[in-house]
């Protein structure tokens, strides 16, 4: 005990000025465990050092009085376009639609613009990390995009001078769009959608699925060839990028909205023996049990989308998260866009009104995303050893009227001002 105290004191002496501090007298919500009243969080060199109800004040570290305030881990938007798409209607401002059917070598991290106006706007509401998509996931239905493999989702902190400083992990998941049965296709050139007979649409799906499977087969042969003669094999960046997928280290992120698409994805995972995450699930129907049984995590888009089918209940998008949770599926919420990324906590909050237990809701915007992407050793909860990605609020962050008062990313205080607050202040002062 005394040795531990000594070590801590020694650490304090060398602690960085900016990324070490103690928050005390606050209500701490670690997410990984029950909330702690009148508790403290000690941050040393950007990492959480200690959390507890009776932490002693140590010398030479800034103390923040958290009386009346709450400390939560920073929230995580599991799949977003923040940083990679600025004005969604202007193609030049977005890097989410590469040419080509198979682009596993692409990583979104290097196209994240640290100066994007969306970054400060999003983080001001308590979001400290995001999974940046390499290709758009149009509402989860996956229609209209070109690529089958769109690239790798990178997990980024929403603070940093460069994308390099922002990066938590370059490859958190590989985006795969499985060909679906498209009986209706929108042609952007004529602005009309044309109908295809079901049998023909199904044939087209089979043809395209063969293409995807062939690509996986090629990658597998590349893997074998590399194992056999690593020195002589000509490097192919696309197949190289597929190796972690084939080794089961990197999960595939597959958009699957309806039951049929979900079953297609589950079948694909089984046949190819790969790890998958489903994204944009909307009408899982009878596939829920199967998802749960096979422990496939689900990243949910916003519940604030229209009802898809006429005979669905009016609140079907609100009850979806509760339905999945009840069945035992691990869920994380995602904006799947940039504009409404700041509303991530309300996606979870409104799901609580329609049956999702509160603790599960809070987890679905924090720890679950970290676990799904395999980075729970670094982010997602307030536990010692993790990055000090923290928010200090005046209340429950899933409630709209709550204000985020302070934010820390890797222990560094983060500015909560944005383009929005700047314009507000400027025009409020207009005589």
């Amino acid at each position: 005990m005394r040795i531990a105290a000594f070590l801590l004191a020694a650490a304090l002496l060398s602690a960085g000025e900016n990324d070490s501090f103690l928050i005390r007298n606050a209500t701490v919500h670690p997410v990984s465990g029950p909330k702690l009243n009148n508790a403290s969080v000690l941050v040393m060199d950007g990492k959480i050092a200690e959390v507890g109800e009776r932490l002693q004040t140590r010398a030479k570290v800034k103390v923040i009085d958290g009386r009346g305030l709450h400390v939560y881990p920073g929230m995580i938007d599991a799949a977003t376009l923040v940083g990679i798409s600025e004005i969604s209607s202007v193609r030049e401002t977005a890097d989410i639609s590469e040419v080509g059917e198979f682009n596993p070598q692409l990583r979104s991290s290097i196209a994240v613009n640290p100066e994007s106006e969306h970054i400060p706007v999003t983080r001001a509401n308590g979001i400290t990390a995001v999974g940046v998509l390499a290709a758009g996931v149009s509402g989860g239905f996956g229609f209209g995009e070109i690529s089958y493999i769109g690239g790798q989702i990178s997990l980024m902190h929403l603070d940093g001078w460069t994308w390099e400083e922002m990066t938590i992990t370059h490859g958190a998941a590989m985006q795969l769009r499985l060909p679906g049965i498209e009986t209706r296709r929108f042609n952007p050139a004529t602005r009309e959608s044309a109908a295809t007979p079901f049998s023909e649409a199904r044939r087209r799906q089979e043809t395209n699925l063969r293409k995807v499977k062939t690509f996986f087969e090629e990658a597998r042969r590349y893997q074998t060839a590399k194992q056999a003669s690593p020195a002589t094999l000509k490097t192919d960046l696309r197949y190289e990028a597929m190796l972690p997928v084939l080794e089961g280290k990197l999960p595939l992120l597959i958009p699957a909205a309806r039951e049929r698409e979900i079953r297609d994805a589950l079948a694909f995972a089984e046949q190819e023996k790969v790890k998958i995450i489903l994204v944009g699930v909307r009408r899982p129907g009878g596939a829920i049990e199967e998802i749960a049984k096979r422990k496939i995590p689900v990243i949910l888009g916003s519940p604030f989308v229209p009802i898809q089918e006429e005979d669905d209940p009016y609140d079907a998008t609100f009850t979806l998260a509760a339905d999945l949770h009840r069945a035992g599926v691990k869920i994380a919420f995602a904006s799947l866009g940039a504009q409404f990324a700041r509303n991530l906590p309300y996606q979870a909050g409104h799901s609580v009104a329609y049956g999702l237990p509160y603790d599960a809701a809070l987890r679905s915007v924090t720890l679950n995303a970290a676990e799904i992407y395999g980075v729970a050793d670094r982010i997602g909860s307030i536990d010692s050893g993790k990055y000090a990605d923290l928010i200090v609020t005046d209340g429950d962050p899933l409630e709209i009227r709550t204000q985020v008062k302070m934010m820390f990313v890797k222990g560094e205080p983060v500015d909560l001002e944005s383009k929005h607050t700047r314009l507000y202040k400027k025009y409020r002062a207009r005589p």
Partner: protein
């Protein structure tokens, strides 16, 4: 094919089932049962919030207070622990219509969305379930001067005529900025659509000015005709112009202008243009940069109906800020928050929490935030004599929530329009179970039919 038939049957079953609870005995007899909602936290909007009761007689609010008398024969609803707010009013929506834009011409004031009301669109039920009882259903924003509006009450189950709120003054849609420009740029952007004037903000101003010059001349023709006739002269009436007639009503202050707008420059342009022709813009819709010209909007006397926190989806929305509603209000503008929903009525399911964002961004009070989706839009639409607050004499359009209406955790439980219950969450849940059972039954029957190789019976 058979599956399709089953589906159509299901949809019919649902529509029928959903209609059931609205047909009360009282209604069949042409009378409405009085109502007493007790022990609720009542958000009157005009006179604060308190715990008390509301009595309803003949579809109107009879009394509101901490202790009031129950009307004879009243149905009593114990709402203890619940909250009641006035039915919400959405000042900008496109639900319940089968067509939104007549975009082929720059001035389409001869068209009206009232002609394409679809009373069976499920969006009406979604809006109702979200606590919205009245909607300003507008023409789209494809042209500088769009079509005429209709104000609807979400009386789910009534026919198109039964949805119309007869008391509402007529209105018309205008649109500025990128949307009316788009058609003018269509050919440039490689679209098949024909190119038409205007393609710039300057052109938009020109189109509107020219239209009002024409309307003025047209009005003058009619006035001269009336004068000549009054003198007993034998004169031919002018040829009627259905495009200009609504614009004459605008000039005479009889028709409200609801103008879709984004940027401060175009907002200011329209205010000055209206002043040039001596009429007032009723509402600036969306008005995302309204906060930059709040002073001018307040001086002109236009209302502002905005989004809660939309931004960045197009260039003209890049300076949009979520503080817009609060800042406009602070500078003296009457503000409402709208959904702009299409047939999905997505936001109308939760307009209350959109209002809560005005508390978060800019710190308006809870009551003022609720007013932005109740009383303020009522004023903007000229219907505040009838709806928008909980006061004796007003229509009994009421929403019961299971908690604080601005909380993300609250749910709508019951909705009344004109004192009649149009939505009830428990009934909805019951109908769902019935529908599921019917669906299962139909599918099983279909399987059985297939096995027996007998053709499924088609509905007659």
């Amino acid at each position: 094919m058979r599956i399709r038939t089953a589906f159509i049957l299901l949809c019919c079953a649902w529509a029928l089932a959903a209609q059931q609870p609205r047909r009360t005995l009282g209604e069949a007899l042409g009378k409405k049962q009085p109502l007493l909602i007790q022990n609720a936290t009542i958000h009157t909007i005009t006179k604060g919030a308190f715990t008390g009761s509301i009595s309803v007689v003949d579809g109107k609010i009879a009394d509101v207070g901490e202790k009031i008398l129950a009307p004879a024969g009243a149905k009593i609803i114990n709402a203890s622990g619940k909250h009641v707010i006035p039915g919400m009013i959405d000042c900008h929506t496109h639900i319940a219509i089968d067509a939104i834009n007549e975009g082929s011409v720059s001035v389409s004031s001869m068209t009206s969305v009232a002609d394409v009301v679809n009373a069976e669109q499920r969006s009406i039920y979604y809006a109702l379930a979200g606590g919205v009882t009245t909607g300003n259903v507008l023409h789209g924003s494809a042209n500088a001067i769009g079509g005429l509006n209709t104000v609807l009450k979400m009386r789910w189950g009534k026919d198109a005529g039964g949805l119309v709120m007869a008391e509402a003054p007529p209105g018309i849609k205008f649109a500025l900025g990128e949307n009316p420009k788009r058609q003018g740029m269509a050919a440039q952007q490689g679209s098949q659509a024909a190119r038409r004037y205007p393609g710039t903000r300057m052109g938009v101003e020109d189109v509107i000015r020219q239209a009002f010059i024409d309307a003025r001349a047209y009005s003058f023709q009619w006035k001269s005709y009336e004068q000549s006739r009054a003198k007993g002269e034998n004169v031919l009436p002018p040829r009627r112009d259905l495009k200009l007639e609504p614009l004459v009503e605008v000039l005479e202050g009889k028709r409200l202008v609801h103008a879709h707008s984004y940027r401060a420059d175009e907002i200011l342009m329209l205010l000055r243009l209206a002043e040039e022709f001596d009429f007032r813009i009723a509402t600036l819709q969306h008005v995302l940069e309204g906060y930059k010209v709040a002073k001018e909007i307040a001086e002109h006397g236009a209302g502002a109906s905005t989004f809660s926190d939309w931004w960045s989806y197009k260039v003209e929305a890049f300076d949009a800020i979520p503080h817009n509603a609060a800042l406009l209000r602070e500078k003296g503008v009457l503000v409402s928050i709208n959904s702009d929903d299409a047939s999905g009525a997505e936001i109308m399911r939760r307009l209350n929490t959109e209002a809560a964002k005005a508390v978060k961004y800019g710190g308006v009070s809870d009551n003022d935030a609720l007013a932005m989706v109740t009383l303020n839009p009522a004023k903007q639409l000229g219907i505040d004599k009838y709806v928008g607050s909980i006061e004796p004499g007003k229509h009994a359009d009421l929403v019961i929530y299971d908690g604080d209406p601005l909380s993300i955790y609250s749910r709508v439980e019951k909705v009344f329009i004109d004192g009649e219950q149009y939505f009830d969450r428990e009934t909805d849940a019951m109908l769902r179970r019935e529908l599921d059972a019917q669906k299962k039954g139909l599918l099983e029957k279909e399987k059985l039919d297939e096995r027996q190789r007998t053709p499924a019976r088609r509905p007659s």
